[in-house]
């Protein structure tokens, strides 16, 4: 090959090498013909470059948008080009062709393209700025979450998603044919996280969890990605809240720094600090909702409207539309939840952020006796949980933790209305593909 003599370079490095012969590869993003001259905007994962060739050459190669090409040429200064330089094409090779009549193009706005089409043509959708941004932001959230915990003595763990039974008593489980037995997809790494803190004190896991929920709302998925952490030696749920304040604030600062311009395409202001968002008791929240919005209908839990209203009240109070709600009714929480006081409240919290719950967390019971009582109080035979309860005989410290749904967090960071927009390949009651 004539082009083999020089190695391919990323487009982001072109500015450094002018003037020089370069070899670049990417997708045809845009084409423009001006008389005898043609402009090809080529894109790779690092940027875009304006390439100049003859209109004749363009026609010879039958080039069109989304085709995959290799360009050999010379970088030269060109003040009229966006980057301040362009590539004079010496040689062009089509590596693969895209089909004609694609439903949309990477260079198009996709406001009028439906979610179904974006899912069906995922690779093409990722090449658009709007969809690509979602998953670049998601990847950055993941990286920042792990980095923040790495700085705080947390050890990453990987736990099985194939389990014998559910953590919360057997509902909403997907059954698996496991050789001659039935197994289930894990609803949560909760038990394993707790075993993890008994070993490592501080653990986190990022992984899928599964809920066989038949309703297909804009908030629910049957498979989602959970950012889970658990830490030992806490005295109460406030320490978990404090950790989340700091962790999310660092993650948001990281995103503002790395992807600030991307964020501002989707939201009015950079991601806020959560260090001063309020923490309101559940009862206090009901009272505030009653006073401000005449909500007299809530008792055991919040509803989506209540979550939005509380965020609005928090925004008025602190300038940030986020609030920790602490002390939900214990009866509605899983059996392993620690109580808060003796009036039926739980030492557990939700974080509501810009209108929706993105975290559930709290302190857990750490004495075996208390767990057995809690199971019996829910009419569950503790013997069914013996394998788990036995771990509380090995030196189980007081502990708590939280879980953040990655898709919901991505949605809230970018202001996306449907959680499916923040999943590459969403799964729900009706969707198994692509």
């Amino acid at each position: 090959m004539a082009t083999a003599a020089i190695g391919r370079v990323f487009i982001e490095t072109l500015g450094e090498s002018a003037p020089a012969e370069v070899l670049i590869r990417g997708w045809v993003y845009r084409l423009r013909i001006l008389g005898k001259t043609a402009f090809l905007i080529l894109r790779d994962c690092t940027g875009e470059a304006q390439c100049v060739l003859t209109s004749e050459a363009l026609k010879t190669h039958r080039l069109k948008s989304e085709d995959v090409v290799e360009v050999r040429g010379t970088v030269r200064t060109e003040p009229r080009a966006k980057a301040g330089f362009e590539v004079a094409v010496a040689d062009l090779r089509v590596l693969n062709r895209a089909a004609a009549n694609l439903p949309f193009l990477a260079s198009h706005g996709i406001e009028s393209v439906g979610l179904e089409t974006l899912l069906q043509y995922r690779p093409l959708a990722l090449r658009t700025e709007a969809v690509g941004d979602i998953f670049r932001v998601q990847a950055a959230l993941l990286a920042e979450f792990r980095a923040g915990l790495g700085r705080r003595h947390f050890t990453e763990i990987v736990t099985s998603k194939i389990v014998e039974s559910g953590t919360e008593g057997g509902t909403s489980l997907f059954a698996i044919d496991y050789f001659d037995r039935v197994a289930y997809l894990a609803q949560s790494p909760q038990f394993y996280k707790e075993h993890g803190v008994a070993g490592f004190e501080r653990v986190f896991e990022t992984g899928h969890v599964y809920r066989a929920e038949p309703h297909a709302s804009s908030r629910h998925l049957t498979e989602y990605y959970s950012l889970d952490l658990e830490l030992a030696f806490i005295e109460g749920p406030e320490e978990v809240i404090e950790l989340e304040r700091e962790l999310l604030t660092e993650m948001f600062e990281g995103l503002n720094a790395r992807l600030g311009r991307t964020l501002l395409k989707h939201r009015a202001a950079p991601l806020p600090s959560l260090l001063r968002v309020p923490c309101w008791e559940f009862g206090e929240c009901l009272e505030r909702l009653r006073k401000a919005f005449g909500r007299g209908d809530l008792a055991e839990d919040l509803d989506p409207e209540g979550e939005r209203q509380l965020c609005e009240l928090a925004r008025q109070a602190s300038g940030v539309a986020a609030v920790f709600v602490l002390g939900f009714p214990l009866a509605a929480r899983p059996f392993y939840t620690a109580p808060r006081g003796s009036a039926g409240a739980a030492a557990s919290f939700d974080l509501l952020f810009e209108g929706i719950e993105i975290t559930t967390g709290g302190q857990r019971l750490h004495h075996r006796d208390d767990l057995e009582s809690a199971l019996r109080a829910r009419s569950i035979d503790p013997r069914g949980f013996e394998r788990h309860l036995a771990m509380f005989d090995l030196g189980m410290p007081p502990h708590g933790g939280l879980a953040i749904g990655l898709e919901r967090l991505t949605c809230q960071v970018l202001g996306l209305p449907n959680v499916r927009q923040a999943v590459l390949y969403p799964r729900d009651r009706y969707r198994l593909a692509p």
Copy 2:
């Protein structure tokens, strides 16, 4: 509480604060009584501290190993203590008790403890140095893998593990009851990775994959964690190999730097550079095995013994017991594998490291026509893969990638004989718990 006035600190910070009143929490690692004085070695996730109290106090609290305690006391210089200081205990509180008669203790050697017991008592096992090290190393490998790819323009993706059908034609799949349908657990993110490179050019994923393999050997799991990457615009599998050389070398350097002393407890030398390990063609490997070991029985694939022998030959040739084997017979590789030349070889490779295969990778076909031909050549109707093949009409660049099994890599780094030792909660034909 009397102790609430000062906040808990990590043991690693104690040296900085001497002499001062401190509050620490952790597990009782060791106890020693010398007349009226007792020594308690307390451990948290950052280190261990020698605490001094009266033998009387020890008895009053009925302290024993693995109990979870809080100590308030004063740090003072003590040249005879390992860390150069100790904590004079002013107040001690038992936060939770461990059971008596545990099968082993964190401070014990566990050479004589069987794998079954280590799995059954996971939290306790993690508190031992030997088992804890495995999962600290594993976490570091994960972090280094992601960091190395982050530096190279790779975007992390999260793809569904619930799929309509297998990537390789429907064998060894676990079936899931998905509402009124059958779905399957993903065997590999291969197709999604390929769609990912068509969008982002370079993608990686770290996640579980599932194989319903009925054999329960020391190398096989039904659920394992795959470090997957895929990159576009390659000219051949050599570029994937080159990337892996650099990536693993960086990961190993990172581990040597962060966990060098841990590694040297398990292996004779630090982790090697892979920059100069050889890359041998498959046919050449057979020839070398024939000459050196009289192996005339291999034709289509290597066997475990052959992998060990090749690593030994590589060690003799280059000083490092690792070798890339390139050009396996195409017929034995998945349909999406690109050919290498026209003599029936595949553009795919394995990396053998210290006796075992830890990576499979290669270049993939990127033209739809070629994929359809490859399917037909395997007597598979391309219409069954239409949803996947349609992605090759959207501008699919030439691409390739690889997958590293995290558990196997962990085993090879630490010299562990059984892959189950490198999984917190292994799953195989017979094991669904804990």
